[in-house]
Amino acid sequence: MKLPRIALSIRAQLLLVLTVFLALPWLGVEYVRELERVLRDAQERTLAGTAQAVATALHDRARLFATPPDPIASFARERADDRAPNGASLPPSASPEIAQIIAGLSRTTARIWVIDREGTVLARAGSLRPPSTPPPAESAWARIGRATMGRLYKAFLDQPSDDFSDDAATLGAPRGRDVEGALAGILTTDRRPTSDGRAVIVSAAHPVWVGDQVRGVVVAEETGNAVLAERNRAFERLFNIVLAVLLIGSLALTAYATWLSGRIRRLRDDAERAIDEQGRMRAPLASSGAGDEIGDLSRSFSSVLARLAEYASYQEKMASRLSHELRTPIAVVRSSLDNLKASSLPAESRVYMARAQEGLTRLTQILTRMTEAARLEQSLCDVEPVRFDLVPVVTGCVEGFRLVAPGAHIAYAAPAESVFVQGAPDLVAQMLDKLMANAVEFAAGAAIVVRLELDGPAVRIVVDNDGPLLPTGMEGRLFESMVSVRPSGDAKEPHLGLGLYIVRVIAQFHGGEASAANKPDGTGVVVTVTLPRATE
């Protein structure tokens, strides 16, 4: 099964790789959770320690628990609590002695209760709410941070709030699981949410022993706010760092990827520019001096293209070199045949003589054709371009061909005005000669249309003939040296695939280009030469 290919740029790929770093926040969350657990344990232990310390001070002092509770005082106190605003000062203690003992132990954020077996509050010290302090002065950065990131964190982190309803303060002594445990003689800790759910209260209850009897319970309470605040701070710092790292990391990686893909893209563009549509070397690729793999790639590209160029020029020069080398042996054969002809030959030998000379003529023709392209290229060096009217040249060539090939049906259309082109009329005539010869041969009696069309700053010479189509994929290669699409049959004339090559060379000399395509309706082939018009 073939998977669909997803095209991803290097930049996108690197950013995808970067998602691995998204594990960092998760690790951070796990770490902070662990931290919170440790902090909670520590808080519970501290509270237990506090409760134990208070209880130790009260152990075996039966006198302190002897006083029966005063329901009226207790009621009055509770009424007073009701009236008092939240966080009011301590109510009068039922047992001033105990209150005295625990007063020294009260902490700013903890509340300590001492209650007897019946649940009567004997004493209470401290408050769950911290004293309100003015917020510390913030730097501008911190303010911006709080305005942006702080808001974000608030959205998904529990915020500690001092604005919670303290049930115990209004409803009297705590009656939680911890108290029951302590009454059973065991140090017990408990955490419970406040009734409005805005805070969690952590409490520890320690039994007070008189002899082997539990006579009271010390309860130490604290909100979870401190832990929560600490956790949030850890969270925020961690997230700030992770976000900064991610941001800087992705920026750096994006920049790196941009630079990298820029180099690769430049290399690709250079490589594409180096060869034109017809596979001809345009300019050698400048090899990069960079020491990395892309530099290597650029250098190997450059050397591959250089070798390709060498091969192409070898291929283009081969024809002329070959013809040069063949001329001498042909001269030997020709002069031998000429000498033989001069001597008296028997009649039956004359036939072979004629055949040999016919073959030789053909061979010479091939050689002449082979050198034509090379000679043309050589002669281009000393052609002095002139400004000339293209119309009479094309008209002359078409009329010339009508004379030479009376069997061909050549239709011709040209603009009435003069069309000036900068170049060599002789060369243009040579080019047209090749174009027409091709068309006449392929049309084999079918219609040929030659058109001269103006196209803005350019002029198009279109030779359009009915006949066999070009094989697909050959449209671009047709104009290369020694490429022919003719069926290799018993052609009277040798075909070396140099005709259209000459067309291209001449078109390029005039700053134009040549192209070939099948007609859209599939009846034949159109060869178009586009030349730039001369400026006035």
């Binding site: 001498t328 002449t368 050589q378």
Partner: protein, 228 residues
């Protein structure tokens, strides 16, 4: 008996050419390299020299030899014979003082005809012109026997090939001569671009004498025409 020197490094061609020329009644001496030929020329000048450009290891040995031979004699007809047929070689050869240039594609009868024509030209150069051999087209005078061309009374220094081309064009003024006809008349086998450069050279020679010369008109796609 006229004496022809053949300087050619390929033994088979040397032998074939000398056989053919001997059959035409010439005395032939052959040399395979430049020093050998030069030494022989110093002792005795040939009546005509047939020189190959590439001589053994000397790629341009023929050019050097021509220069040396011209220094020995200003009048000995020299024909270049080469496998090369680039414009550059033709121009260089003719500039060095060769009278004609043939590629080795030329057949032996063609070669013999040229040699005969060159001999006739050098022989008749000083004889009085016979009117029946003169073609006159306005300012152009062609002496078909002596193979000379004059424009407005001044001698145009044409090679044999060029003379025959001008002759072919001027014989029927106004008629278009295509490239094949020109090749036939000049008895050369070359491709189209060589004809073009021949015509270009002819024009340049006439233009050197007369900057207003415009008699040879190009008929694109067909050939050339001598204008009246």
């Amino acid at each position: 008996m006229r004496r022809i020197a053949i300087v050619e490094d390929e033994p088979a061609i040397r032998a074939n050419y000398s056989d053919a020329l001997r059959r035409h009644g010439y005395e032939v001496v052959t040399y395979s390299n430049r020093p050998e030929a030069l030494a022989a020329f110093r002792t005795r000048l040939p009546d005509l020299a047939l020189v190959d450009i590439g001589l053994g290891d000397e790629v341009d040995g023929g050019f050097t030899l021509t220069r040396e031979l011209r220094a020995l004699s200003a009048t000995v007809p020299i024909i270049f014979l080469s496998a090369r047929d680039s414009d550059f070689d033709i121009v260089a050869g003719l500039r060095l003082g060769a009278d004609d240039y043939l590629t080795k594609d030329a057949s032996l009868p063609h070669l013999a005809a040229r040699i005969a024509a060159l001999f006739r030209r050098s022989e008749l150069l000083n004889a009085p012109p016979a009117t029946e051999d003169i073609v006159e087209r306005g300012p152009l005078t062609l002496d078909v026997k002596r193979l000379t061309a004059d424009w407005q009374g001044k001698r145009v220094d044409l090679t044999l090939t060029e003379f025959w081309m001008v002759h072919a064009l001027a014989r029927h003024p106004g008629h278009v001569k295509d490239r094949d006809a020109l090749m036939r008349d000049a008895s050369i086998v070359v491709d189209d671009s060589t004809i073009t450069s021949h015509i270009k050279r002819i024009r340049r020679k006439f233009l050197a004498l007369d900057p207003g010369f415009d008699r040879i008109a190009t008929v694109y796609g067909m050939g050339y025409r001598w204008g009246e």
